[in-house]
């Protein structure tokens, strides 16, 4: 048996933390992780945020990001302990033997240089290829990665190609110097589902054809199952389970891995329309100020009391614009919205306090949706004070009730948002919306910034609250698994139009139109060979190409 390409032994990584109100101190974020990676193999590192997966990935380049220090253990690459290497040797390693593909290609490319310059930079700098050879190699990689016009795409600037294409350029950048190991750090997380599978396929083929070894870091088990040979499950800096893809997916041993595999197991029976709709959107056409382009065309949807309407689509489909029109932030050009039997004034500034109270909103990024200088008590208490005039003990009693409803409890009342985890922040936002006793809540991608298990908890909470408070949700998301879990009705949006609309079972059963089919088939499934199957069977190119 040959020697492993990457050998990590008892790796310990530390960082300095600055908790609010306390003295900075050092903590250990990775507690002695060991693994081997054979040449040409792909190891998936999977875990929630804070699991240490990116940190471990970067340690294979002897690098610690932003104040992170490698405090112990050994990292062997090609038979050398790189943690003991001199800086000059490490410089040869980075960008030569080991390369890196980051999550956001858009933020990682230099906007002032052409793609080609950046793709060949490391190869030329390391003296691996002459400029000419490197360019030829880059063009071959562009072609292999399925980029359009591979001979000329390199002369474009990063903003002139789409997100999915740029992510593939980044893969070309990593593969160009003929490295032995590539670290992929969530390369498809920021992409739409339909684009994700193309990029995933391109990466998979490129890895196979070049015979390079890879560390593939992601939080999505279904994605990693498509490209890896082995999977390591991490949690809070410890290894939970290590095994072949087949074993992890089909026979997970540890409880935590089982939870990850069976995530989104929420069962939700579709309810049929009752009574009058609480919200009716009629013939809405809207455009942003100063543009000559309609973002929404003739949209019609209904939402029934105590039910959930899921609005699904890719980025740019107009789903968030629909939310802005309903809340009154963007008055529509045509059409009308009726809410609880009244016609809503287009601009929120002219709406009555009653209308504002009964229509609440929960945002995607919980940390910017709360004022960092207000305590949880103030954040939840303000709507109580503002809409119902509650003061003092009465207000406090209601705040505690709400905190109990969102399963946090009284001890959170004096905390600041910075002292909460992502899931807890989103819960506080839910409580703030509920405090107004609304008839309807718009949930704009409320779970997409959260880890799968945390997101699951939020969805369960939302469903429970719906039963108790009989509130209706307009649920905006790009994630079809979420839609299956919670919706009663579904509207599929594509380029500003409602492509398909109806009850959940009806929308999710064939016959499909081409776009719904593409969207449905693009959701990663947790089984081997899914990726190849989808690519072979689909009828429509994704928009990101």
């Amino acid at each position: 048996m040959s020697e492993p390409l990457l050998k990590v032994r008892d790796l310990k990584i530390g960082a300095t933390v600055y908790p609010p109100g306390e003295k900075p101190h050092d903590i250990e974020i990775v507690h002695g992780v060991s693994f081997d990676l054979m040449p040409g193999k792909v190891l998936g590192l999977i875990g929630e945020s804070g699991a240490g997966k990116s940190t471990i990935g970067l340690s294979s380049m002897a690098y610690g990001r932003g104040g992170v220090k490698i405090t112990g253990g050994e990292v062997w690459v090609n038979g050398r302990d790189i943690l003991k290497s001199k800086l000059g040797d490490i410089r040869k390693l980075r960008g030569g033997e080991v390369t890196y593909v980051s999550q956001s290609a858009a933020a990682s490319f230099n906007p002032a240089k052409t793609i080609m310059e950046q793709v060949i930079e490391a190869s030329v700098e390391q003296g691996k290829f002459s400029r000419r050879n490197a360019e030829a190699r880059a063009r071959a990689l562009f072609a292999k990665l399925g980029l359009p016009d591979p001979d000329n795409i390199g002369s474009r600037y990063p903003h002139q190609v789409s997100g999915g294409q740029l992510q593939r350029c980044m893969t070309a950048l990593a593969l160009c110097p003929e490295p032995d190991l590539v670290v992929f750090d969530e390369p498809t997380t920021a992409l739409d589902v339909t684009t994700q599978i193309d990029v995933l396929m391109a990466i998979k083929e490129a890895i196979r054809d070049t015979g390079v070894a890879a560390l593939y870091i992601t939080h999505d088990l279904a994605v990693v199952a498509q490209v890896s040979d082995d999977i390591m499950v991490l949690r809070n800096g410890d290894m939970v389970e290590y095994g072949s893809v087949d074993q992890i997916i089909n026979r997970p041993q540890e409880e935590y891995t089982q939870a990850l595999v069976s995530v989104r197991s929420i069962e939700h029976e579709e309810k049929s329309p009752t009574a009058e709709p609480v919200l009716s959107v009629r013939n809405i056409t809207a455009r942003y100020k100063g543009t000559k382009f309609d973002v929404l065309h003739n949209v019609n949807v209904d939402l029934y009391p105590g039910q959930t309407l899921a609005v699904v689509g890719e980025s740019g489909s107009g789903k968030s614009t629909l939310a802005r029109v309903i809340t009154g932030l963007l008055p529509p050009r045509e059409g009308e919205i009726s809410f609880a039997g009244r016609t809503l004034t287009p601009d929120f500034k002219h709406r009555t306090r009653e209308d504002l109270r009964e229509l609440q909103m929960i945002y995607q990024m919980a940390d910017v949706a709360m004022n960092p200088r207000q305590t949880v008590g103030t954040i939840i208490g303000r709507p109580l004070e503002f809409y119902f005039g509650l003061r003092g003990a009465e207000k406090k009693k209601r705040i505690i009730e709400l905190l109990d409803e969102i399963e946090l409890g009284e001890k959170f009342i004096d905390r600041y948002p910075a002292e909460l985890s992502g899931g807890q922040k989103q819960r506080v936002c839910i409580a703030r919306a509920l405090a107004a006793k609304p008839k309807m809540i718009i949930c704009d991608e409320v779970t997409s910034a959260l880890d799968p298990l945390v997101a699951d908890g939020i969805l369960k909470l939302l469903l429970n609250l719906q039963k108790i408070e009989n509130v209706a949700y307009l649920f905006i998301t790009h994630d079809l698994a979420t839609v299956r879990a919670i919706s009663d009705n579904i509207a599929v949006m594509y380029k500003g139009k409602v492509q398909r609309y109806g009850g959940k079972t009806q929308v999710l059963s064939p016959p499909f139109d081409d776009y719904t089919d593409l969207l449905l088939s693009s959701v990663p499934e947790m089984r081997l060979g899914w990726l190849e199957e989808v690519i072979a069977n689909r009828k429509m190119e994704s928009a990101g190409n």
């Binding site: 932030l329 504002l356 004022n371 910075a418 107004a436």
Partner: protein, 271 residues
């Protein structure tokens, strides 16, 4: 309090020294403010620690009373410039549209005229009294605070929590004072130290040019003016107030730096 860096301690010590001297001036000063007690430009002695000035007044006494006037005017002007500048700046950012345009263009207009010249013109047609001086300095300087406050507020204004407050139906005053101001405070506080120093320099310059504090009232700029002719004869009386201005400027800035570092790492602080 153990974690105060040495530079901030030095700054705090000198700032406190100057402010205390200003507050307790009548108790500390050995002689009366405009009292002629000796010969012209006497050197320092046990009787006159810093010597005497161009008409024989005790220079230490003049310095203490002068500090009182200078620091008082600078402080009041800073307060005025801060309240008007930051409230109008945040108001412009929150309102947007034509209100923002009008205010910003008006501020541009004022800023396009050199502040000193503007102040000289205004002060030469109005009676030069201390309240007038404070008002003119404060309003002229508020244009700079306005710029900063507006820039900071525009950043905060697009955040979801401000949108949430708007959709709740909150009034503009709530949005300015409860949502935006607390988050804009740390850059503004740091700027305040700097503005205070500019005020000290500004009032000193005006007095030096004769349009600031009027004699026999003492102030640091005025003392430089009164004693400047002595420099030719090697008499350092004019350098003492200059030295005081410089040390005050440096020490206030040291404190401002420290405040900025502290407030940004406060609970939920930005930055």
């Amino acid at each position: 309090m153990k974690n105060i860096p040495v530079s901030a301690l030095i700054g705090l010590f000198f700032t406190a020294l100057y402010f205390l001297a200003a507050i307790f001036a009548p108790l500390l000063a050995p002689y009366g403010m405009a009292e002629v007690v000796g010969d012209v430009w006497e050197p320092s002695s046990a009787e006159f620690l810093l010597g005497t000035d161009n008409i024989g007044r005790d220079l230490l006494t003049r310095m203490i009373y002068g500090g009182r006037t200078t620091i008082f005017i600078a402080t009041m002007a800073t307060v005025i410039s801060f309240t008007t500048g930051s409230i109008l700046g945040i108001f412009a950012a929150v309102s947007g549209g034509w209100i923002d345009q009008c205010l910003s263009r008006f501020v541009d207009l004022i800023m396009s005229i050199p502040t000193l010249i503007f102040a000289l013109v205004v002060l030469s047609v109005t009676p030069v009294t201390v309240p007038m001086l404070i008002l003119v300095m404060g309003l002229l300087d508020s244009t700079r605070v306005y710029r900063l406050a507006r820039a900071v507020a525009v950043d905060i204004e697009v955040m979801d929590f401000v949108e949430a407050a708007r959709l709740r139906g909150e009034r503009t005053a709530w949005i300015i004072f409860r949502e935006i101001l607390p988050n804009a405070l740390s850059p503004l506080v740091a700027e305040m130290g700097l503005r205070f120093i500019f005020m000290v320099l500004f009032v000193s310059t005006l007095s030096f040019l004769g349009l600031g504090v009027q004699p026999p009232e003492a102030d640091w700029g005025g003392i430089v003016k009164e004693n400047k002719d002595g420099i030719v004869y090697g008499i350092p009386a004019a350098l003492i107030p200059a030295f005081a201005i410089a040390t005050l400027a440096i020490s206030v800035n040291l404190v401002a730096d420290w405040v900025l570092n502290r407030t940004t790492s406060l609970k939920g602080g930005r930055g």
